[in-house]
Symmetry: D2
Subunit: 314 residues, 4 copies
């Protein structure tokens, strides 16, 4: 951060060059095609925004274009669930990387319906189900949206109903996961209610500028301390590090070295602990379902500014 | 570290109290029983040593008692293999958490004989095999021992032949892993040679004081920069974070928040990036094969001094 | 059969003794408890009926008491589906034993949503789905019921709506299987329609006397040749042999030596090829979900009369 | 059989036509390539021999050419093991189809080192290990060879040492299976001894004429009753039906309808209970490792003569 304190123009220049360079990359990955609404997104878009804890924000590319945050929403629902249930949540979902694709059902059968972590689909469905108990889906969604808006200090954040509906109609794999866990006693509400809420939370749309601001409750942003118990910041960041990129989490930690959570909409929220929150977006995905250029951008940025939590090569 | 700069006596006092308190814990876990030589170790031992990058070292408990470092040796062989092969190593072993026990063979079958990471047994056997190519087992072991001694700046480090022999006689699971990978073309040397080398590297004995010093090449110890390419420090630390505790890696990251690698001898090497190297030892293991009290000690220490890489709750 | 030709009274005596002896067995297995309506059945019931191809029928125990045929219905829907689709059915379901419990979902994920055989739940749901295409659930159920009644030459066979409803409410595991296959493109109809039909077919109630008669289209009963293509008799019997008792199919073939299909209601339909159809019922199940006393009865009977297809010890 | 009683020349004609027709088939499958000695076999060979219980034998093709019986040897070792241990054998190996390839190791891990059946590699290794206890490998092999020669009433049957040696050098997958089971306590002897015996038993060479004669102890050949307890005939035939063709067992039962056991040398031993023993050989294999033309020949033969145990379509 000291670098940016002294030379903010350098950072802006670095970001612009980075964006320009990456947009020229021929291999941009594949846009998620299993949700029709997402499949229509122009793959040639790129945006990145960094929000430092002191409030300064730097952006490049289509940084005010809204995109579907998809699984990045799991970070917010996890924060809400931990705030409400505390460690009781861990009776229903574990904290371990899965070693399997994001929508795998195998471990649910061999591990009694307890998902491996809150960032794979099964675990996120359980997390949403835990928030839903005692509320209607509408109330739960209002709470989630309120949390995200407060985190971003921006009320101009909405759910895209068309995307939510599209996911519901094609979400048979998620229905399969939910009913499986219901059969094992790990879903409390009606599967339709839980999944309806889940599909809507995934359909929240934000721009990179909004998402970067919304991540400051995890980077230690000074005006966001009220949003979450201080100890939970570490908890969530650690889970983003070990489980935030599905079966590509080890690779992300190795290359980028900071906690992050991806979504199949092509967004990634990454946290430089104690310093900054970063949002990046490029719709093309790698084979694990993580943004291909987004990961590359974060690796270049983290390497250049020595942001890896795993040591600076001095 | 600033704390210890000002009040080193406070850290010593904290360590002594921590050791005394943990040794009174009734639940100390179970000593590894599948290697007869290890099963005989007195479970009531505890030691911890911290070595800061500036050279100051603080210890408590049986910190000069030698123990079998077992899988902690995988950190050193990974460093050697990366130094020798560079990124070519990753053609033979991946960087992802496994979601399975340390000695599982299932993923080898479903993933064509490529182990998930260098810290589960299969991956460590491949790593050792890669070092062995072009050398005799004796030469490879001499190189490993030389590396460890140089890292610790201490030549009084040896292999316990009785333990190595004991592991060889009872190591049928490791033989199974090696032959499986050989059948898939991922072991270059004779299985007996590779495993002989592997069992010997695991039988290296060190005290906590020695091990803490030996870890400084990963914490950025000033006189250890020559041992490893600077970028590799981050690589190894990231793998220790995501994969260092087998199927308890997510839990360790969540609770302790710094990279670490455990061994079934009851030792853990943990790294506070840019600051310090920590060795802890207590023979009782949890269900994942990680030292029960060792993990607790690291959690208490990391929490007290705000060493988590995932953010300080300021 | 020659034995019974000469001494029919001997067979009746043998059956009565067998029933009396088995009902005294202290270990009767556990009544299926996951469907509330089935959990209420009195576990101390036993019935057996044999119907020879020439029409003579011998019974013992509660042989006119109706019970829920459950998975035995899969034999009838398979016959209908083969009659309608022929070998095209095998593009959607295989013919191999699964090596997994009846409701396992693991192989669906590793084998692209194609179930192993038509007698595990996933495969039976696909089979029902194939019958349903082009019909309403009501029409499909009418066809299934018509087939069963024609096979049994008895119109007094009905679906128990309370059981069907009970299964629907608690059938989350089957919903999970269906949605999983739908996500892989292997369910053509709406999951709710397919499962509604499936739960109703499982809720058909028959007595042992009715079921034994209904099985004669597979034993070669002289007046049942019109019901099914002759080659299909062998096909279905072979599948009953290799896959008819879930993960206990090998054991059943080993002990009893004739094709059979069990249901969690405690019934088993067994076929002595070219000779007779046998129905047995006792609600207590073994760990694989097959009737404990029913299997024992069939083993004793088959051994006594040398009905094993695997050779007579002459 | 009545057909052949009256018109033996018809059967001979049928066999000759069958052989001629199949040898013209363009798709003959792939010769096993993982054992160098087997890979060299000319794929264009075909032989078939039928031996009726009354002693008459009919053959076609290269019926006196010797081939490597490979896994067909498992039938003979199972017979020996059952004769020696009786049902105690089933404490170490089960009777269920595996639902996995012949050399899979996955179920060994999830099922505590107990193989699914005696006809997959792991189960056959355990079976051989049980025979070996109390004997040297040389003695055990002598016993196996003596049993096979007695069954065939032919002493001109030998082990091909070059094949045995070739399998030993390339048999890492089998070493992996054996060491895995040893680590779980399910191999009593030294792995090298057990596997040495196993590789040699697989390297027995027989012609189709010899093998057909050797199978008569399972078809009820009149002069072979002394070789095995009568009840064991059924036991072994049932296992050949449910497990004799690895993960193609269901398909074989469906198409051919009689018990059979295949080997990767391209041979199949099939049993018409109470009637005849059939040996067929064609080196090309299907994707499950079973002889492609051999299976086709047995299907045509069984269909033509109505030998299916699952009912004759009258």
């Amino acid at each position: 951060m000291s670098v940016t304190d002294k030379h903010p123009q350098d950072l802006q220049l670095f970001l612009d060059k980075l964006g320009t360079r990456l947009q020229k990359t021929p291999q941009k990955g594949s846009v998620a095609d299993y949700i029709p609404e997402l499949a229509r997104v122009d793959p040639d878009q790129f945006a990145l925004s960094i929000c430092f804890n002191d409030g300064r924000q730097f952006s490049t590319g289509n940084s005010t274009t809204k995109f579907s945050i998809q699984s990045i929403s799991k970070v917010f629902t996890l924060a809400i669930a931990l705030g409400r249930l505390g460690d009781k949540l861990w009776q229903r979902v574990r904290k371990e990387p899965s070693g399997n694709p994001f929508n795998s059902i195998i471990q649910l059968e061999t591990e009694q319906g307890i998902p491996r972590n809150p960032f794979i689909n099964a675990g996120a469905i359980v997390t949403t189900d835990s928030i839903l108990s005692g509320s209607t889906p509408k109330e739960a969604l209002a709470e989630i949206l309120m949390f995200v808006r407060a985190a971003a200090s921006d009320d101009d954040i909405y759910i895209n109903e068309a995307v939510a509906k599209s996911e519901n109609q094609t979400g048979h794999r998620n229905y399969s996961l939910a009913h499986f866990m219901k059969s094992m006693g790990n879903i409390e509400n009606d599967c339709d209610c839980t999944l309806g809420t889940y599909f809507h939370q995934c359909a929240i749309e934000m721009s990179c500028e909004q998402l970067a601001r919304a991540g400051r409750f995890l980077s230690g942003g000074t005006d966001k301390h009220h949003m979450i118990d201080k100890q939970r910041v570490r908890s969530i960041n650690s889970l983003m590090m070990t489980c935030g990129h599905y079966d590509g989490s080890g690779e992300f930690a190795y290359r980028v070295g900071i906690p992050g959570k991806s979504g199949v909409g092509g967004g990634i929220l990454a946290i430089v602990p104690n310093q900054a929150s970063i949002a990046v977006w490029s719709p093309g995905l790698d084979s694990c379902g993580n943004s291909l250029l987004g990961t590359q951008a974060l690796e270049d940025l983290s390497t250049h500014y020595n942001w890896s939590v795993f040591g600076s090569p001095a």
